[in-house]
Amino acid sequence: CNGAWLQRKQHTLQPTYYVMSLYPQIMFCFGRARRSSRCGSPAGCSHVNAYKVDNWRPNLRVIYQCFVWSGSAETRRRKAKSCICHMCGAHLNRLHSCLYCVFFGCFTKKHIHEHAKNKRHNLAIDLLYGGIYCFVCQDYIYDKDMEQIAKEEQRKAWKLQGVGEKYSTWEPTKRELDLLRHNPKRRKMTTNCTIGLRGLINLGNTCFMNCIVQALTHTPLLRDFFLSDRHKCEMQSNSCLVCEMSQLFQEFYSGHRSPHIPFRLLHLVWTHARHLAGYEQQDAHEFLIAALDVLHRHCKGDTTNDNGKKANNPNHCNCIIDQIFTGGLQSDVTCQVCHGVSTTIDPFWDISLDLPGSSTPFWPLSPGGDGGTVNGESHLSGATTLTDCLRRFTRPEHLGSSAKIKCGGCHSYQESTKQLTMKKLPIVACFHLKRFEHSAKLRRKITTYVSFPLELDMTPFMASRWASTNYLPPGLYVLVRYALFAVVNHQGTLESGHYTSFIRQHKDQWFKCDDAIITKASIKDVLDSEGYLLFYHKQFLEYE
């Protein structure tokens, strides 16, 4: 961490299970209530000393291993079977185990209390949370040695299950504690505060960069990554774009109001993506892809400490960029003669969508045909919807006689159809509406209005939709629902244009970012805008 203050979320944020709709506050720095202050009696429980004899440590470890944290499949199986109240047979009801003998009893109906009283076994352990209760003191005890054992065993169990540290709460290291002590200023995000909004000075046609920076700095998972200081730099010189992004996030969330001057960022982009160098207007989409690529390449050091777990995205990379942006596109090529299908899966960072009005015909996909009500978009105005574009993108396409492909079944060149579907959905889905047409004959901008929704359901465009919709219980579709959080727009012509963006803060507050100027925007402003790049964030994230 650098700078005069620290920003922290209380627990380690793992992209794999962060739910955006619940993002109300970032806690900048969190003074954790220390255990000791929670302890009921200041003197502590004296009854615990009676337990601390002979081999109490290994014994306690075994109890944690077998009945509380149960890391191995074997211990879990046993726990599932054997952990029931010996008196009433309940599985739940705050089950506790006696620390002195093999007895499980529920706390709710006081069956564990009964056992404690009859046998004078004063201590019992909570099988769900691992706390140890003293029946004499009528309180959970806060014993340093025991808590240490509990924590160590929990860590081991998580490791066994490949969970890693992702679910653990953040605890400051010694260095972090020192930093916190030396920097007493804290910043808390409330529901209406506008921390994180900051204009960007235009350095000469650099609005293409500014609009993307605004979208990236308001990508929830990316923000969490950078604000929790997770980048471990392995770059030699100080030319790391990830480090520059870290710096940028600090600038954005510092609470300063004056526009930021992103000259270092621009310099680094010019260094690492030479095709974008120069003071001409560039394509914001091209910049986005170049930026993601450079960030991914500079992330090398961050990817190693993930328990050696294989990356679960088609780019085979665990870096934060791939974790958030990489999806997998399935391409099925079907031979028209033998109907054999050959399937390939390719990674993608964005989806480029054709628009009506371009020189490639958009329809015969009938407007609002089957599935016209998908995503609640109406065709009343006759406007094309984002869903239309996605339906077109995922429709089977006849490749024609001029594009014969060698079929593995027929062992000869045959006509075939090709269909693209989503095999793996990224956490952030970025749609690129192809508004700029560069063909041999012409270069022009397509201004066709495309309506896009605040919430997008991606189920219809998934590779396994037929298999899954019949199988999953109702309501599960919510798992592939996305929420709009940023829109990049291009105003003007191909020759002289200007980029701006809309970004979302909190759940539903929108702002327009026009280089250095930020103004409040309505949802209508956002949805009525032309749309060039649309950023959607998955609402429910599976943990992997």
Binding site: Y17, V19, G40, R76, V478, Y543
Partner: protein, 96 residues
């Protein structure tokens, strides 16, 4: 045991066996911190302790007093998400 509680027991056993219960628990914990529920609970507990006096309150008193309030204050979105995950889990292990 009636049918309903048999079902609950079976689901609970499956969740434990697959390690899902532990993951759900940690997920819930994280969600409740994020949405401010934990802070609310902490404040409520402090109120109760202040009212009754530190000497005269046990953990169980707190549990009894706070549990109904705590349940009521869990945001619907959190409940919904947990339910989704349990459903998805059951769909995957539908031999139950």
């Amino acid at each position: 045991m009636n049918k309903d509680s048999q079902m609950r027991a079976a689901i609970n056993q499956k969740l434990i066996e697959m390690g899902e219960r532990e993951r759900l628990k940690e997920l819930l914990r994280a969600k409740l911190v994020e949405c401010g529920w934990k802070d609310q609970m902490k404040a409520q507990c402090k109120d109760v302790i202040r009212e009754k006096g530190l000497e005269h309150v046990t953990v169980e008193d707190l549990v009894v007093e706070i549990t109904p309030k705590g349940r009521a204050l869990v945001p619907d979105s959190v409940k919904k998400e947990l339910l989704q995950r349990i459903r998805a889990f059951l769909a995957q292990h539908s031999t139950l």
